[in-house]
C-alpha cells in the first residue's frame, strides 16, 4: 500500500519533532551537571556545590595536596569537606564533562617562621641584628594579606620594639645591638603566634689595650690589664692577643688568648727590646725593656 506525499511529510515531521525533543532532553541532561562554584573560599571551611539533573556522575577535584574521584548523585549538593580544602591554591572541579576552578585562600595567622641572624653579635653595633618573619595560617599556608608583625629585642630588661607589616607573607627588621653584652631575647609576634630566639650580644673589639712587663725566671712576663670594649664590656675569653718583642736578634711573637679578662705571655729574656701588644686592629701600649747588667 502506497502512502500519499502528505502522509510521508507528516510522518517525517513527527519523526523530526521527536528527534528534536530527544536532542533538547539530551542538552538539558548534559547541562544538568553545570558547576556553580565561588571564586574563592577560606582554607579549611569546606564547600557545598549545587548540582541539577538526575542520575549519578563522577566528581573529580584536583588541588594542592588533594586528588578526589568519587561518585555523586546529580540533583543533590556536593560537599567538599574542610579537610579536603585545607591547602591554599587553585582547585579544579570536574563533573560530567563540565569543569570549574576556584581558589582556597589562607586563613588568619596561626604560626610564624622566624629567622634571626646572627646568633652572636658584637654589642653597640648599628643594624647588625636581622629578623625575617613569615606568617602562616593553621594549615601552613602563607598568609599573603598584609599582617602586622611585632619585633621585640630585650637585653637585660631593656626592650626595643618595632612593628612592620608583612608584604606577601614576609616581614623584615634590622636592629642595632645594645650597648651592654648579654643574651638578647629576640621575639616576633603576630596575632596569637609568637616565636622567640636568643641572640648572644658580646663585647666588640677592644677599645684600648694596656700591658705591663716584669722579669721572671723564664724571661719577661707580659700581662694586660682587663680588656674591655668601648662600652665597658669585657672582651670575651678566647680572643687572641699578640705580644711582640723586637731586639737586635730579631722579632719574637707570642699569641695568647684572653682568660678571665686578661691576656699574658712569656717572652724570651732580652737586654734591650721593644715590646708591643695588639688584638685585631687595636694596638696597645709599647714598652721599652732595658736590663742593666
Amino acid at each position: 500500500m502506497t502512502k500519499s506525499p502528505i502522509e510521508v511529510v507528516v510522518k517525517c515531521g513527527c519523526t523530526m519533532a521527536v528527534a528534536i525533543l530527544l536532542m533538547c532532553c539530551f542538552v538539558i541532561a548534559t547541562h544538568a551537571a553545570e558547576l556553580n562554584v565561588p571564586t574563592s573560599v577560606a582554607a579549611g571551611s569546606g564547600l557545598s556545590i549545587p548540582t541539577s539533573g538526575r542520575g549519578s556522575a563522577t566528581l573529580y577535584v584536583a588541588g594542592p595536596g588533594t586528588a578526589i574521584k568519587r561518585k555523586v548523585q546529580l540533583g543533590q549538593e556536593i560537599q567538599l569537606s574542610a579537610d579536603e580544602l585545607q591547602n591554599a591554591g587553585r582547585y579544579v572541579v570536574s563533573l560530567d564533562g563540565n569543569s570549574a576552578t576556584f581558589f582556597v585562600i589562607a586563613g588568619p595567622v596561626q604560626s610564624i617562621a622566624f629567622l634571626a641572624r646572627p646568633s652572636r653579635v658584637p654589642a653597640d653595633t648599628p643594624n647588625v641584628i636581622t629578623g625575617t618573619a613569615l606568617v602562616f595560617d593553621k594549615y601552613q599556608n602563607l598568609v599573603l594579606q598584609p599582617q602586622p608583625v611585632k619585633f621585640d629585642l630585650n637585653v637585660n630588661g631593656q626592650t626595643v620594639s618595632r612593628t612592620d607589616m608583612t608584604k606577601q607573607g614576609i616581614a623584615y627588621i634590622k636592629l642595632d645591638s645594645s650597648k651592654k653584652e648579654g643574651p638578647a631575647q629576640f621575639m616576633a609576634s603576630s596575632g596569637p603566634a609568637s616565636v622567640r630566639r636568643v641572640v648572644q650580644e658580646v663585647a666588640s673589639d677592644p677599645c684600648n689595650i694596656r700591658m705591663s712587663a716584669e722579669r721572671d725566671k723564664n724571661g719577661v712576663l707580659v700581662r694586660t690589664d682587663p680588656i674591655r670594649d668601648c662600652a665597658g664590656n669585657p672582651v670575651p675569653d678566647g680572643t687572641i692577643v699578640t705580644f711582640t718583642s723586637t731586639d737586635s736578634q730579631g722579632k719574637n711573637t707570642v699569641d695568647a688568648r684572653i682568660k678571665r679578662g686578661i691576656a699574658q705571655a712569656h717572652l724570651p729574656a732580652s737586654a734591650n727590646a721593644t715590646i708591643s701588644v695588639a688584638s685585631g686592629v687595636v694596638v696597645g701600649n709599647e714598652i721599652q725593656w732595658r736590663v742593666d747588667r
Partner: protein
C-alpha cells in the same frame, strides 16, 4: 597475495609502533628539559640579588618545575625531594599519593615562566618569587582526559638555601599579584 596477507599483521604492528613511539618520545623530551624561566631581580628587597644567586635561583626553580611535572604525571613522590622541602614537599607528596589512590594523574606542558623576585632576606637564606606561568594542564583518569586547559597562572614561591642549591619551600597558586 598470501605473502602480503602474512605481512599485514606485521605492517599493522609497525604502524601502531610508529604512532605510539613518537608520543612516548615527546613525553620523554618534555620530561628531560627544564622549562624556560626568565627572572627579574630589580625589585627584590631588602637585599639585592647577586648575579650568581639570580642564575642559581632560575636554574633551581626551573628544575623544580620539571620535577613537579614529572612527579604529578608519573605519580612518583620520590622525584620531589631533590627540589622541594618543607610544606611544598609535604603538599606535593600528598597530591601524588592521593592521585595514585584515585587512579588520576596530571600532565603539565610548561610553556615558560616570567618571574619577579620580590623579596630576598637580609641574611640571604630565603627568596620569594612571583611567577606568571603559561601552562597546558590536563587532569587524567587513566588515559581519559577529564579536564584540559591552557592557562596563565600566578604562583607565589618561597625558595630557601639548601646544601648546594635552592629548594622550593612553598609554592602556591594565587588569583593575582
Amino acid at each position: 597475495m598470501k605473502f602480503l596477507l602474512r605481512l599485514n599483521p606485521i605492517l599493522l604492528a609497525l604502524a601502531a609502533l610508529a604512532v605510539v613511539l613518537p608520543s612516548h618520545g615527546t613525553d620523554s623530551v618534555l620530561a628531560a628539559s627544564a622549562p624556560a624561566v626568565k627572572i627579574n631581580v630589580a625589585n627584590a628587597a631588602p637585599r639585592q640579588v647577586e648575579d650568581s644567586t639570580q642564575k642559581a635561583v632560575a636554574r633551581d626553580y626551573a628544575t623544580a618545575w620539571q620535577a613537579m611535572a614529572d612527579a604529578l604525571n608519573q605519580n612518583r613522590a620520590d622525584l620531589l625531594s631533590a627540589n622541594f622541602i618543607g610544606t611544598a614537599n609535604d603538599k606535593l607528596t600528598a597530591t601524588v599519593c592521593e592521585q595514585g589512590k584515585a587512579g588520576l594523574h596530571q600532565r603539565i606542558v610548561d610553556q615558560g615562566h616570567t618571574v619577579d623576585a620580590v623579596s630576598y632576606s637580609t641574611e640571604g637564606s630565603a627568596i620569594e618569587l612571583h611567577d606568571t606561568a603559561r601552562l597546558q594542564l590536563q587532569l587524567m583518569d587513566g588515559n581519559t582526559v577529564i579536564h584540559s586547559e591552557d592557562a596563565t597562572l600566578h604562583y607565589v614561591a618561597l625558595l630557601t638555601a639548601a646544601e648546594n642549591s635552592c629548594k622550593v619551600r612553598m609554592l602556591e597558586t594565587v588569583p593575582a599579584f
